[in-house]
Each structure stands twice: as C-alpha cells, then as structure tokens.
C-alpha cells in the first residue's frame, strides 16, 4: 500500500536527469550564429527558460545483523525520496536575475539533505544560499560500552543528533573595482544521547539532550585594481550551547552489583545543565599585489577573539560517595560559572620573485599567536545527610598559550619546458604553555617547537601524455609538543600519469611518511605508505571502465608506562588495507533513438591489523529511457560490514532504489 501510494505520488512528478552522461540541453549545438545577438545577449532567445532534471524515487532497504551499527555507518532508510534536483532558470528579460540555479539532493528522510541556490545578475549581484541537514547516529558498543565484557550493554557515549547548516552570501557589484559583500551563516545541532554523569568516583550512564547554535555574521569589501587586490572583512559570531543530562530512575550504572564498603551505590535523580553563551569578533585583511612583472606579494592579517560565559548547575540524589574521605551522601548540588577568552592573531607575508625567466623564488613568513585564559569558580555542596553537609569551592582558572612561527623558502627552476626542479627549506618554531594558572608545579607545562625541514622535488612533463611529480621532505626536530607529533620525519609523494593509448589512461601514486621520535621511554616509530593505481579504459563508444586500487600500510610503535604499575609497555597499531573500486559503464543497444545504460561495480575495503574490517559496497545501476527526457532509473546497492574482533557489530544491507528522472 505504502509502496503503491509512493509510486503513484511520485511517478507523475518524477524527472530524472538522463543520467549525468546525457548533458542537459543548455547549449544547443546548432547555436544561433547571430553574431550581433551574441554581443548583446549571451542567451539566445530560443533557449528554454528552464532546464534541468528532477529525480524522484523509492528506496527499499533490508538490513540484517546489527541495525544500530548500520545506522552508525550507512543510515539510509526506506521510503520515497527526492534523490536529486538540478534546475537552471534563465530570464531572457533579465529582470530580477539573469540566471537562477537550484540544486537539491537526498530529501525525504535521508540522513543528509542539501539545497543550494544561486541567483546572479551580471554587474549587479551574486547571491548564494547553501543548506545542509546531516544526521549523525552513533551507537557502537565496541567503542563506548565500558562493561561490555560483563555482558551489560549500556550504550554509553552514544548519540543521535542532526546538524543544520545554512549559509547566505550576497556579493554586490556597484562598480568594477569595489565589491562589497554580506554573509550570514548558522550552524545548529540538536539531539539526544547517552553520556556519563561523573562525580568523584560515582559514574552513571544517563540520558542526554544537546542543543547548540552558532550564528556567524560578516561583511566586507573586495578592492580589485589592476596590480593590487585587497579584501577587508569584519565579522562576528554568537554561540549558544545548552546540554542537559537527566535521570529519574534507580541507576546502578557502572557500579552495578558492586558493593562499596558494604553499600550499594546508586543514582536516583539527576538534573545537570550547561548553559554556555559565547560571542566573537573577527577581522580579516588580505592583499595581493603585482607591483612589478617580476614579483607578486601577498599577505594577510587575521584576528579573532572568541569568548564564552559558562553557567553550570547540577543536582543529584542517590547513594553516592566521596572516595577520599569515604563519605556517603544522598544529595548533592553543584554550581559553576566561568568566563574564557581567546584572542588569536595570525599574520603572513609572502612573495613570489621571478629574477630570471626560468626561476621562481617563493618566500613566506607566518606567525600565529593564540592565548586562551579562563577564570571562574565551582561550588560543590553535599546537602544530605545534614551531618555530612560540606561546601567545597574550587577555582576554575586556566591558560593555554600558543606561539607558532614559520618561515619557508622555495626555489623552482624550470630546467626545460618539460622539467621543473623544486628545492626549499622550512623552519618552524614556537612555544606553548598550558595548565592551571594558580598552580606553579606539575599542573603547569610548557614546551617548545623547533623543526627544520628540507624540501626537494620535481615536475616532469615528458609529453602531454606522460607527466610525473615528486615531492620530498626531510625534517629534523629538537623539540615537539607531543610524543606523536612529527619529529624526525621523511615525507614523500610521487604521482605519474600516462596516456598509454587514446583509450587507456593510467595513473600511479605513492606516498610515504616515516616519523621517529627518540624520546626516552617512548621511541616513537611510525611508518605509513600508500600505493595507488588507477586506470580509465574506453575500449569502445559503448564501454568505459574505471578502476582504482590502493594498498595502504601503517605501522606505529610507541612506548608508555602502563598506568597502574608504571611498567613499560609498547602501544602497537597496525592498519594494512586493500581498497579497490571499479565502475563498468555499458551503453546498451538502443530503441526508438533512446539509449539505455547499465553500470556496475562498487568498492571494497579489506583491512588487517589492529581492527580487521571488511566493508563491501557493490552496486548495479540501470537507466532505461522511456521517452525523450524521461528515464526510469534503478540502482541496487549492497553494504556488507564485518569486524573480526567485534563480530556482533557486522551488518548486511540490501538497498534497491527505483524511480524516474525527467529532464528538460
């Protein structure tokens, strides 16, 4: 019934792009030669005022295995869908706009909806609107459940939320050289989940409601002169972030059936709320100049100052404990407030110098300075039993200081028209400080960054059919911020393309990162490699084949002291993966001047190592034209997901999507 109704509703409306292979008839090849018309009106009057495609359909799904993991990974549901809409409206009289483009994808219940509108009137304005609504679902016991080994499924640290993003931008063209613009963007998220309520040693999974919203306003002006361009922009943001955790049941949580000094701990009521308000101003100055033919100069100055104000409240009851004093209590209230600010300044300056026709020298300097500081107070009150009533005040003060600097010189030498050599040097230095401002001791840390990087590479264009490119970096550091940071490393990227014959093109790429940090006790050893080969083969007008294969390997060894007994151990991580994808596109024998198409292929991912996983996504697509501009499109797709260590998380899903596309 549901299916019949959906088809009945959608079929007459459907209009699907005659596949992307069929170009929308926006530019008739018989083009009105009218030379005079071309100079006055770029749009021949015979052109339809509206062109584009509408693609409606219905998706059937069948999921076996763990549906929660399916939703965490794929999350495509069943039902009627607006799969795609791409319309262009041209107003021959150019009243409100010259051209209006509207694009929409995956509406009607899919976890990601997009809408884009662009309207422009030449010499007057250009308006863009972009909207996205993306659903995030995450419920993965292997990731989140701390008690999974005991058979207790808490689904702790899971969520289901939607993020909606809207962006508007209007560019005005009052003159040729000064272009003002205004923009507004909103990013908001709302959802529910399960999180942990944590108070001293009391930990309970509780329901969670999240809401946050960021508004971004900005405006500026672009100045475009022949040898000098500049952009001046001023903007601001506001933030609202409200999170509430609550519980009104008897919750044994992670202390389930465990006695603590003879008592069973539980949580019977919780109300916890964060009220975060924030704002920021920011400024941008960008410029590029070409003062002489042999030099380009560019620079930017960026400044932002986000601030937040925090209000936190918490009330909880149950049988809870303060570990240090083994004090049992039944009611607690906590209040917190704080304010934080983060002035952040970035500047860069660079030039490209062409002292000789075949030599380019690129020099850049950059500095980035961010100082975060916050202050406030947290008050924790034990309310009951009255005999144990206490109030604890904790100052909330902290800082994080980052000063980062970078200088880089690159020289590009065009040895011949076919070969360019590239060499350079980068020096990176900085310092960071983090910690509690009131504690001068173990709570406060500072560190430095010192890194020297040599750069080499070449671009080789043997013929138009054969090109190759290699980049190499070798770095040596004396200080880095984190054990896993880039320290003494070699990085290499190589890529080659070869058009073997007119019907066959090949591309190969290789990348490598080898990083070592000899810090005592750590001895970080990291090596990752990616080898990739792709081919595009068009043996005939009716057949095209695209295939790619990538082999990636990753090895990471790093030492640490195991927390409880501080005994040295090594964290090993391995991720060795095969990834292949292919698509065979066949043009089937036609009928009545209509051309059906069949495509099949898909991708597979097989990995071994620390989390062996397989993920298969084969697909078959069939496009059957029913009439000029009307195509019946169907697609079958399979998702197969398995993890060797967490077999209960595997799923297999069959998706069949069918519908019509109407194009004009």
């Amino acid at each position: 019934m549901r299916l019949g109704l959906a088809l009945f509703v959608t079929i007459p409306l459907l209009a699907q792009q005659a596949a992307q292979q069929t170009a929308p008839p926006t530019a008739p090849s018989t083009a009105p030669a009218a030379a005079d018309a071309s100079s006055t009106s770029p749009t021949p009057s015979t052109e339809p005022w509206i062109t584009g495609t509408v693609d409606f359909g219905f998706r059937f799904t069948s999921v076996g295995g763990d549906n929660d993991v399916y939703r965490s990974v794929v999350n495509l549901g069943q039902g009627p869908r607006l799969l795609g809409l791409d319309l262009t409206i041209v107003d021959p009289k150019k009243r409100l706009f010259d051209r209006l483009d509207v694009r929409a994808n995956n509406w009607g219940g899919d976890p990601y909806n997009t809408l884009h509108v662009n309207a422009s009137k030449r010499g007057i304005y250009d308006f863009n609107f972009d909207y996205r609504d993306i659903a995030y679902f995450s419920l993965l016991p292997s990731f989140a459940d701390p008690l999974l080994g005991t058979g207790i499924v808490l689904d702790q640290d899971s969520y289901f939320s939607r993020r909606r993003m809207s962006d508007f931008q209007l560019d005005l063209f009052p003159g040729h050289r000064i272009i003002p613009y205004l923009a507004y963007g909103r990013d908001s998220g709302e959802g529910t989940g399960i999180t942990t309520f944590e108070s001293d040693v009391n930990q309970y999974p509780v329901a969670d409601h999240m809401f946050d919203k960021t508004d971004n306003y900005r405006g500026g002006v672009r100045l475009e002169f022949n040898r000098f361009h500049a952009t001046l922009e001023q903007g601001g943001t506001t933030l609202r972030d409200d999170q509430q955790a609550y519980d009104s049941t008897v919750n044994y949580g992670n202390n389930y059936q465990q006695q603590y000094f003879g008592q069973t701990l539980d949580l019977t009521n919780l109300m916890q709320a964060y009220g975060i308000r924030g704002d920021s101003i920011y400024s941008k100055v960008l410029f590029t100049a070409n003062p002489f033919s042999w030099i380009d100069v560019s620079g930017q100055f960026l400044y932002s100052r986000p601030e937040t104000n925090v209000n936190y409240t918490q009330f909880d009851t149950g049988n809870l404990v303060l570990q240090q004093s083994i004090l049992f209590y039944t009611a607690e209230q906590a209040l917190g407030f704080a304010a934080g600010k983060q002035p952040h300044t970035t500047g860069s300056l660079g030039f490209e110098l062409r002292p000789l026709k075949r030599v380019r020298v690129l020099q850049t300097w950059m500095t980035d300075r961010m100082h975060t500081s916050a202050a406030g107070q947290f008050t924790d009150m034990i309310l009951q039993p009255v005999s144990a009533a206490t109030t604890t005040l904790t100052p909330l003060t902290s800082l994080l200081v980052l000063n980062y600097n970078q200088e880089q010189t690159d020289v590009l030498l065009e040895v011949t028209h076919k070969l360019t050599l590239h060499g350079g040097y980068r020096y990176v230095w900085g310092d960071a400080e983090t910690g509690n401002m009131l504690i001068a001791g173990p709570g406060q840390e500072s560190s430095e960054l010192r890194q020297q990087v040599g750069i080499a590479g070449f671009n080789f264009r043997a013929t138009q059919k054969l090109t190759a490119n290699v980049d190499f970096e070798d770095a040596s550091s004396s200080h880095a911020y984190f054990l896993t940071s880039l320290y003494n490393y070699q990085k290499m990227r190589a890529r080659a393309r070869y058009q073997l014959v007119s019907t066959l093109a090949l591309q190969a790429s290789f990348s490598l990162l080898n990083n070592q940090n000899p810090a005592a006790g750590s001895n970080y050893d990291f090596l990752s490699r990616q080898n990739s080969l792709s081919a595009t083969w068009t043996p005939s007008k009716r057949v095209s084949i695209v295939g790619e294969y990538t082999r990636s390997t990753l090895r990471s060894n790093i030492g640490y002291l195991e927390p409880e007994f501080l005994s040295p151990v090594t964290s090993l991580y391995r991720d060795n993966a095969h990834n292949a994808s292919a698509l065979v596109d066949l043009v089937l024998p036609g009928y009545a001047k209509l051309t059906p198409r069949l495509a099949f292929g898909g991708s597979l991912f097989i990995s071994s190592g620390s989390r062996p996983t397989t993920f298969y996504q084969p697909l078959v697509r069939l496009s059957l034209p029913l009439h000029k501009g009307v195509v019946w499109k169907s697609e079958y797709r399979y998702y197969g997901y398995d993890e060797a260590f967490y077999q209960y998380e595997g799923f297999r899903a069959h998706l069949l999507q069918t519908g019509l596309a109407i194009s004009r």
Binding site: D187, Y303, G340, F351, T550, P563
Partner: protein, 315 residues
C-alpha cells in the same frame, strides 16, 4: 638576521629581475617592432564556433565587454595573444596556446585578472601552485558548465579532486568517514585548493580558526579547560578526517591507546616542567586497564575536546 636575509635576496634579485622582460600586462603593451595584430574575438568565431558559442555564456565573456580590463572585444586574445598571424595562416604555431605552456607561465595569464579574489590569497603558500598544477587543471576557461567555470555540485567536485588524489579518495571508502561519497559534502568544504595558511590547505573559519568549526561549532570554545592538542595540532591529532576503520574516525583502534600514546606517564624532572617529553605526559594516572571500565577513557573523560567546568575533562 631575517631582515638581512631579505635584503640580500632582494639585492641579489633586483637587477636581474629588472632586466627580465615583463609578461603581458593587463593592458595591451606597445610592441617594439611591428605592432602585434589583434583581430578581435569575432574573427575567431568562424573556425572555433563551438568554443565561441560556449564562451558567450561564460563568466569570462566579461573580458569582452568590460572596458576596464583593456580587452574589450578581444577576450580570446587576452589569453592567446595577438591572433593576426594565426588568422591569416591558420598555423597552430602562430598563436599562443596556454594549454601547451608550462603551468606556471599559463597561470600568470589567469592571475593578471584573478590576482586576489576571495580565495587566491594563499596561492603563494599553495602546494598546488608549487607542484605546478595549473588553474586549467580544475577550471574550464571557455565553457560554462551548469554552475560556472568549475564544478560546484559536491559529487562533481569530489570526482575532480579524486582524479588526482586517488589514495585520499580510497580512504573515503572506509566505514567511518565524512559524507563525501554520498555527495553531502565536498573536498572544498574542508580544503581550499588555492592555498591556505593552515596545513593541508585546510579552510579557515571566522578568520583564523580551523574550518572544522564551521560545522562543529559546539567544539569551538574557548573552553575553560582546553585539551591542548585540539589547539596546538588540530583535530587531526586524534581523528582521520578522510576515513578510518575505527569508530569516530579515530586514529587508533581503541580510545585508550590514543590517549596513552601522549599521556604516557613518562618520568620527568620535578617542579614546573620545561620541555617535558611531551605535553600531557604527566602526571600519571593509576587506572587499572584490566578493568573494562577504564578501557575507554572518554566514557568518563567525556569532554575530551575541552571542558567548561572540569580540569580533568570529566564534565
């Protein structure tokens, strides 16, 4: 020292640079001998009709109509140079074809007009420019597609980027990834192909903050208690944004290892710590990792991106 170096470089290059013949300036430059013969765009039409017709709907048509650029009626020759000889002889060699020029040289033609625009500021720092990926590798110059000179639809943008960055695209075939294969996002949502001040040509948000905050605004802060790697090295210190076999695109299979690799408990000198083996390495924790309760640090330290009220990121 720095200023000395700049001065030396400028001194070294100035005299040589001054002698270098200038590439074509925005306005037609007077030629020494017989002036190059400009014939106008309409002369090109009879032989290159497809291109000519497509060009009428291209934004580049402005070059033909706007006086300020100095190429009114000569848009074709603004990039291809004077076409007089070619029009007479129909000889390919008699006209400049930017497609056959070294990329850096061809790009300079584009940059004559597109010196800045909102996105071009970082070009000098762009790895595309340094690797001589020409503007025309992504932008079609004559033809106006459904949305301008470059693909705008997310799926088409991704296809274009993936045609070179095949290994990166392979990462998006992993189970946990941003929604690019589904067409909900495109590469340029996170990267600025023209260059950026951030590593990997990452987009910035609100002037100088990582572009990740455009969509993840609730993680922007500033937090009362920051988690230093988020600010110092960015989201990529824990996440593989292109795709991972690990939930939440984490860089390690289990959360505890991700945490312990930095919070390694390695010994250090007492007192205020200067240049420890790593930030966050101390003080040590005493959790029993044999207990499943402590195997996922973020179950308790849930505010791992930064906390508003708790120094240990517990709430």
């Amino acid at each position: 020292m720095l200023s000395n170096r700049i001065a030396a470089l400028i001194l070294l290059c100035w005299p040589v640079g001054a002698q270098t013949p200038a590439p074509a300036a925005p306005a037609p430059s007077p030629a020494p001998a017989p002036a190059p013969a400009y014939v106008g765009s309409e002369t090109c039409q009879p032989c290159h009709e497809d291109i000519y017709n497509a060009f009428q709907k291209s934004p580049h048509k402005l070059v033909d109509t706007q006086k300020r650029r100095g190429w009114e009626g000569k848009a074709c020759e603004s990039c291809h140079g004077p076409g007089g000889k070619h029009a007479e002889s129909a000889d390919k060699a008699a006209i400049v074809n930017p497609a056959h020029l070294p990329p850096a040289e061809a790009d300079r033609d584009c940059l004559k007009c597109h010196l800045n625009q909102p996105t071009h500021i970082g070009r000098i720092q762009s790895s595309h420019a340094k690797n001589e990926v020409a503007c025309t590798a992504c932008h079609s110059i004559h033809r106006n597609g459904p949305n301008g000179l470059v693909p705008r639809r997310a799926a088409a943008v991704n296809e274009l980027c993936a045609s070179c960055h095949t290994a990166v695209w392979a990462e998006f075939q992993r189970p946990y990834k941003h929604r690019l294969p589904e067409g909900a996002m495109s590469c340029v949502d996170c990267h600025n192909p023209h260059g950026s001040i951030l590593p990997a040509s990452a987009q910035s948000y609100a002037a100088n903050e990582p572009g990740c905050f455009r969509c993840h605004g609730n993680l922007r802060g500033p937090f009362t208690f920051e988690h230093a790697p988020v600010r110092l090295e960015g989201c990529g210190s824990c996440h593989e944004p292109h795709g991972s076999a690990n939930p939440r695109m984490l860089a390690r299979a289990e959360v505890r290892y991700l945490c312990l690799e930095c919070h390694a408990n390695l010994p250090t000198a007492p007192g205020p710590i200067k240049n420890p083996p790593a930030l966050g390495g101390v003080p040590p924790a005493f959790h029993d990792l044999l207990s499943p309760q402590f195997r996922n640090c973020t179950v308790c330290h849930m505010k791992v991106h930064g906390s508003y009220v708790n120094q240990d990121l517990l709430r």
